[in-house]
Symmetry: C2
Subunit: 216 residues, 2 copies
DNA sequence: GGCAGAAGTTCGGAAAGACGAATTTGCATC
DNA sequence: GATGCAAATTCGTCTTTCCGAACTTCTGCC
């Protein structure tokens, strides 16, 4: 069985590949994502290659093998179902569940996860809008784009949030930008400030923040 | 923060003390409980003494300090609330939850545990009848005795099960000896076989099994 | 085409936690 | 009091995962 550490590396690699749109991740990015030094990552990448979870070429990056991708999806499935479960069942705020799931994802059995899945009636996504991988390893591709890429006048509906830090999520709650919220881009000035209309209210948002919000 | 390993050692020491009625545990018992070799335990006992979780005298045994007892109770509280939660909310069978909780107890935050406690309306005991420590570190003492100590003719109600292995628990389910089940000791022969009446039915039980069942 | 500087790799070493063999201690028995 | 066995301890070693410093490779810029 894969150790907790290996699960975290594989998950990080998978998510970095997704984020970059490519299919390989850089040592430095992985180090930053996991909070370790680059040298540590290099040696772990060799380990991952040894156990056939990743293909690693020095100075070029890593990509996951099918086995690595499957493991990453299992971890992600556990993580996201746990998040959804905590919000649905225990009414936890959406800004607390990520951290909790980060630990629990390595501790729950697949049997329990499948039970949670059934209990929640097979949800398609977690509280942050991230799609939940199926038990057969399938992951639906979402059709969304950053709010920052919307032109002035464009209407949108919030479908997903990338940055899942508690502070950022709380600020979204304060602005009324929950998952499913609808609005319209009113203005975007050169300094990167974006103005939104949300029903009656108006909200101001930095471009960097709007980049973390996915809409359709 | 205490490592997963330290939490397991402290929990094992606490439970061995409880089981023996004394307040110290032997190296060999701890090794057997945790599935490691005695030498490993000896070195860990020194570590526990170093961080003031236990008092250790070579060749005599260990006992927990107040800090060690507090940690053990926190772990036990997490374990038992998780068990109760899995049974109540997800309808998991009582023979599966121990193993699951064994892993999860190290992964959930105290914040989440308190939320589960409130959600379950502050249950007094877990699915096996073990009392749940309160968040202030209090643990109620149960007034129960082994079914094996009942004399012929004595009536009883099952309050708690010591052996929490799936096989044993399933055999109890088959016999109708769930928590709360009432019955009467009908016979006890010299070979250690005990006969019970449970409502309409009759059940045969080995003395070793009856020793694992606590009643009042 | 050459050369900083950034990114990546190598290597020695440390901490946690475990094993296994050799040794020591304690205790019951004679 | 001597002895022998079971239990406990000691010690060297292994694996995993990390750090940090020294070194190598890559890349963008002149």
């Amino acid at each position: 069985m894969a150790s907790l550490t290996i699960e975290n590396y594989v998950k990080a690699i998978f998510q970095l590949c997704q984020a970059s749109g490519g299919n390989s991740a850089a040592t430095g990015q992985i180090a930053a994502a996991l909070g370790v030094l680059p040298g540590t990552v290099t040696s772990m990448l060799k380990t991952l290659a040894d156990v056939a979870l990743a293909s690693y070429t020095p100075y070029e990056g890593v990509s996951l093998t099918p086995a690595g991708r499957a493991l990453a999806l299992r971890v992600l499935r556990r993580h996201r179902l746990i998040e959804q479960f905590l919000v649905t069942t225990l009414d936890m705020p959406w800004d607390e569940v990520h951290e909790e799931a980060e630990h629990m994802e390595h501790a729950v059995s697949d049997r329990l996860i499948d039970r949670i899945d059934a209990y929640l009636n097979y949800p398609a996504s977690d509280p942050h809008g991230d799609p939940i991988p199926k038990s057969d390893g399938t992951l639906v591709v979402t059709a969304d784009k950053p709010l920052a890429s919307c032109i002035v006048g464009e209407k949108f509906r919030v479908t997903r949030v990338r940055d899942q830090s508690p502070e950022f999520l709380r600020s979204l709650t304060d602005l009324g930008l929950e998952i499913g919220a609808c609005g319209q881009v009113v203005a975007a000035d050169a300094t990167g400030q974006i103005t939104l209309r949300l029903g009656e209210a108006t909200a101001e948002l930095a471009r960097t923040a709007a980049d973390q919000i996915l809409v359709e």
